[in-house]
Amino acid sequence: MNNDRSAKQAAAWPGVARMTARAVTALFGGYAAAAALASLLARLLPIAPAEASAWGMILSFLVFAGLALWAFHERRLALVAAAIWGSALVAGAAVVLMGARA
């Protein structure tokens, strides 16, 4: 390891913890948010339920990728966590409350 690194490393733990939180939010939160948003789209699209579900599934990975990348681009971790976990919770709750169509 490099010599100038040890001092930095001692102070880096909060940074490591924040990075871990960010990565967990991107990977698991991003998946949860993409699943919830895709489900909400599938539930709300005014077309045949099977078609709506298929559109939700097809688009979900794009949403996931976008959210995950944004989680690493946006510097404010609190905003990232709030937006991703929040949208997962809100959209997920909406889908559960509305119930299945068929």
Binding site: R5, A35, R43, A48, P49, S53, M57, I58, L69, H73
Partner: protein, 547 residues
């Protein structure tokens, strides 16, 4: 050069938003590629080989010779065999031959018996013309590469989940990579014709960038192939039972119970002809017969998908006792059709020979892109005259172990097919073991060599292994290259020639790795690429900050 994550947020200079986006995307691109790169390389390489899945299987059973037979004849011959052996089964699955497989495969499921559960029967290979069982060496054939490329030889469902995570990393790496390399769209539209050398250069650049849509397509459609597993939630949002979705999307499956009244099973030829009239002349690829010789028997025909841009087969179900058409799968809506087309784009079954080779080469560019990215990671972070830090050595060793050793493992799988006695019990598993023991064993052995020598020697060994294949094939079968060329056997001749071409490619790579002049000890990895840190110090520093 840090392996420890330092987020660009800690970079001192505040940057304008556009540049900050490119910086953060470059940072995440490197991490995504680094974490998933080795698995992605293996997925790309074995997946690319899978475009020739039936051909590899044919090569691995040299005892069998394909014979072209109309679907009607093959179906009736297979049913004749099943009627003679197991007429009281619950279900028969018949996979008809096409111009790439050459044998009929059947699988029969016995009636459930609560007292004595019937043993699971193996799948049989039948002669398409006569319906007689064919004897051939036991092998997993091209199916092994195909399964490995999305299951990674890890128990279900974890292998598929890991492959899915890596595919998501790939998707995010492509998006962030496009943002990082802003010149990509310029390159895409730069092709000046008839300007001599200039045009060659432009064509070269354009083709490199042209592969990008393929990589993006293959990654996204790969996720779609297992979407029902990865992302079932939009189905659950609309349907209480997943079966309701399946019925709404693809039509009701035939699952009538046996009536108990015997009734002879009608010939399938009129049913195939009736289906072909509704399918613009297409024949079925798969036939599923439920409750044969029962009054409630059903015959479901699944349309062949070769030549069609939707990989979800239509199906028509007939009554096996009366010949009446009972049901037909609904024509899909835009979203279901889009998913079917994405599936087809990934599998490439629709592609004829020429387009299949295009798929193959595009797939190789995918493996090359991932591989060069991994090598680049090492090259960028290596400082001349400095001892490489632990992470650098780890990544370099993993690069050798995957990029240079996996091809030898794949060659070992094919060599084992010819060298393990054809009648040895359990030989199919031994072939698979040969691949992984060779791959991982070679990766471990290469650790004792200096990195540069390890690159040269493992790549050279891959060249030798692939070059040995046509020789071993000629020595152990009567279908060697010369015999195949004489007999006009295009598949076997092309296979041997392809192995020689791959051997040449590996040899060239080994040569490139050895050509680097000194101080080579720790610079051999990038085989011919200009040393980025030396030629572009400013950029290297920027990237060092970013990672």
């Amino acid at each position: 050069m840090n392996v420890r994550p330092t987020f660009p947020a800690s970079a001192p200079a505040p940057a304008p938003p556009a540049r900050a986006l490119r910086q953060s995307m470059a940072w995440i691109h490197a991490w995504l590629g680094l974490l998933a790169g080795w698995i992605l390389f293996a997925m790309f390489l074995t997946g690319t080989a899978s475009y020739f899945r039936p051909e590899i299987t044919q090569w691995m059973q040299p005892e069998l010779r394909a014979s072209a037979v109309p679907a009607e004849q093959a179906a009736q011959a297979a049913i004749g065999h099943l009627q003679a052996t197991t007429p009281d089964d619950q279900q028969w699955f018949i996979y008809l031959p096409d111009d790439r497989t050459g044998v009929t495969r059947v699988f029969a499921r016995a009636k459930p018996n609560p007292e004595k559960p019937p043993a699971r029967r193996p799948e049989l290979k039948l002669d398409p013309a006569t319906g007689q069982p064919l004897e051939a060496r036991d092998t997993r054939g091209g199916e092994h590469f195909y399964r490995f490329h999305f299951q990674l030889q890890i128990p279900h469902p974890w292998g598929r989940w890991l492959a899915g995570v890596c595919a998501m990393f790939m998707l995010a790496a492509i998006v962030s990579g496009v943002i990082t390399h802003k010149r990509i769209f310029v390159d895409f539209f730069t092709l000046r014709w008839s300007k001599g050398q200039r045009s060659w250069l432009d064509a070269h650049n354009a083709s490199a960038v042209l592969a990008l849509p393929f990589h993006a397509m293959i990654t996204y459609t790969g996720l779609i192939t297992l979407v029902a597993m990865y992302m079932p939630w939009p189905i659950k949002a609309n349907f209480d039972k997943p079966d309701t979705f399946t019925t709404a999307a693809y039509g009701a499956p035939a699952e009538a119970k046996a009536s108990g009244r015997p009734a002879p099973l009608l010939p399938v030829t009129p049913m195939i002809e009736a289906a072909a009239r509704q399918w613009n002349g297409d024949r079925p690829r798969t036939i599923v017969i439920r409750n044969p010789n029962d009054a409630a028997a059903t015959v479901t025909l699944l349309r062949a998908t070769a030549g069609r841009l939707n990989a979800r087969p239509d199906s028509i179900t007939f009554s096996g006792a009366t010949g009446q058409q009972l049901s037909r799968s609904p024509s899909p809506g835009p979203a279901i059709a889009a998913a079917g087309v994405m599936l087809a784009l990934h599998l490439g079954h629709f592609a004829g020979p020429a387009l299949r080779w295009v798929y193959f080469f595009m797939g190789l560019t995918g493996a090359a892109m991932v591989g060069t990215g991994l090598v680049l990671w090492v090259v960028k972070r290596r400082k001349p005259n400095a001892k490489p830090f632990f992470g650098l050595r780890l990544v370099e060793r993993l690069n050798i172990g995957v990029i240079a050793c996996l091809p030898t493992g794949m060659a070992a799988y094919l060599l084992a097919n010819r060298l393990i006695p054809a009648d040895l019990p359990g030989r199919a598993e031994l072939e698979v073991k040969a691949m992984f023991w060779t791959w991982f064993g070679l990766a471990v052995v290469s650790l004792v060599r200096p990195a540069r020598r390890a690159w040269i020697e493992t790549l050279g060994l891959a060249a030798v292994a692939f070059a040995a294949l046509p020789a071993v094939n000629a020595l152990t079968t009567d279908r060697g290259l010369i015999a195949s060329l004489r007999a006009g056997d295009g598949l076997f001749a092309a296979f041997d020639l392809a192995m020689l071409a791959i051997a040449a490619l590996c040899g060239l790579a080994a040569l490139k790795a050895s050509a680097k002049p000194k101080p080579p000890e720790r610079r051999a990895a990038h085989a011919g690429q200009p040393a980025a840190p030396v030629s572009k110090p400013a950029k290297a520093r920027e990237n060092a900050d970013a990672l």
